[in-house]
Amino acid sequence: MAIYSTNEFKAGLKVMLDNDPCAIIENEFVKPGKGQAFNRVKIRNLKTGRVIERTFKSGDSLEGADVVDVAMQYLYNDGEFRHFMVPDTFEQYQCEEKVIGETSKWLKDQDSCTVTLWNDAPLAVSPPNFVELAIVETDPGLRGDTSGGGGKPATLETGAVVRVPLFVQPGEIIKVDTRTGEYISRVKE
């Protein structure tokens, strides 16, 4: 893997730090006029999601991390692993639940998502920004009540719970923004 000097650190660059793959967020050159030059780097650990700050001597380097984002299709859950496939090549990957984390509540069979691979092994899974999922449980609403006020919790087919307007009925399909977990609209079948 390539070696990157502090001069090459820029947002998005994937590097190895403390044996974990990380992404550079920000890199600031700090140099007292008469002193040692440093680079103060803000960096995200891609395994834990934690953001830390770390200072390097300018000119120091880190090994690049073999991290790529690949669009895949979610296939199924076998109880132990979740399985994904690259549509173009039919290559399949299996993921442990802990890699998937919070994303699991948005994953429906056959839906597409982004799998981040580190050394060809899944590191993280992110859902599409918008998903369309069926409501399996919510209080029956009042038909004709189309006002936006209030709202009620609704459980979706993947287990996610989102707040929906009162008029939305069990069995209906809704569009949700996975970044905020907010209801967007009903989807006509």
Partner: protein
């Protein structure tokens, strides 16, 4: 449509820069300080192990020589002082290789001046006067602060900068989310001071005020002379506004032997760090032997000053063509 040809600063900044230059010239004219110009290309360069220089080839066949773009006009100006120029100033370009960032461009503008007969406190008074002139009408500053390095270092870290206790420094780093300093700095006191000062002290200095920090530890003396009453500190001052380092000044070293020794020491450190080789400026050593008058000198980074005057977040916002567009 390509936009790369355009300046990165608004046209208004060109006017502000011109105004600042005019104010500086007026200020020194009124104080009978002579404006001078010295070469940007020299046969040698500063030996500071922390500075990297640019070189270029002078070709007049069969003569071929390496020339150095100056990292500061200091040496040439001291030669003028030794030759009897009296008090002098200049607004000059300086070049430092590899320095690029929010506050750095490898080519930048310095105001550098020398006052014959001035001690460091007198120089500090003049810095405050100049800043008051330059900031008036642009930005209100709170009263100027003058604080010793030791006081300010202790205030923000609880550590004594003059006595190196590896154990205390390591404990501080571990407890303050900079544990990487332990391996990065090792047992190098100067490096620890650079690290902790720039990360933990400097950001607090001069909130909407000029803050002058004097009495740097002797291991950070560079070209300043040691304080005559306390050899642990040096007669050096640095000035800050809003945590931004604006400049550096010294009660200048006039002892040729001591200067020669520091040159050798710095060249040895450069070799040890495998930095590009430089040569000792023999003209400066000769000038000091001939006699540099007792004087104090100061350098201010004018691009950073313009950042403060215009409330700009990056140096690119005050330069017309920073290095990536030059």
């Amino acid at each position: 449509m390509p936009t790369e040809w355009q300046p990165t600063c608004p046209i208004e900044l060109l006017r502000l820069r011109a105004q600042v230059f005019a104010d500086i010239r007026q200020f020194f004219l009124a104080r009978a300080v002579l404006e001078v110009e010295t070469p940007l290309l020299g046969n040698s360069c500063g030996t500071d192990p922390q500075l990297d220089f640019f070189t270029t080839d002078y070709c007049a066949p069969p003569l071929q020589r390496t020339l150095f773009l100056q990292t500061s006009p200091e040496f040439a100006m001291k030669r003028l002082l030794a030759a009897g120029s009296g008090c002098i100033y200049q607004i000059a370009k300086a070049f430092r290789n590899g320095e690029s960032g929010r506050f750095h461009n490898p080519e930048f503008t310095l105001l550098e001046w020398y006052r014959v007969g001035f001690t460091l406190p007198q120089l500090m008074n003049e810095i405050a006067d100049l800043m008051a002139v330059l900031f008036s009408g642009h930005r209100a500053l709170k009263p100027t602060q003058r604080v010793s390095y030791q006081t300010v270092f202790q205030r923000y870290t609880g550590l004594n900068p003059l006595a190196f206790s590896l154990q205390d420094y390591c404990a501080y780093a571990q407890a303050n989310e900079v544990s990487e300093a332990v391996s990065l700095c090792g047992s190098d006191h100067g490096l620890w001071l650079d690290f902790i000062f720039s990360h933990k002290v400097q950001p607090h200095l001069g909130e909407n005020a000029l803050c002058m920090v004097y009495g740097y530890p002797a291991c950070q003396s560079s070209l300043a002379r040691l304080n005559k009453d306390n050899s642990h500190v040096t007669d050096r001052v640095e000035v800050f506004i809003n945590g931004i380092e604006l400049g550096n000044g010294y009660y200048e070293l006039t002892d040729a032997k001591e200067q020669d020794r520091r040159f050798d020491e710095e060249i040895a450190i450069r070799q040890q760090k495998k930095r590009p080789v430089t040569v000792k400026d023999k003209h400066l050593v000769s000038a000091l032997e001939a006699g540099l008058p007792e004087c104090s000198g100061m350098a201010i980074g004018l691009d950073r000053l313009l950042m403060l005057l215009s409330n700009s977040a990056t140096i690119n916002e005050v330069l017309n063509f920073p290095v990536h567009r030059a």
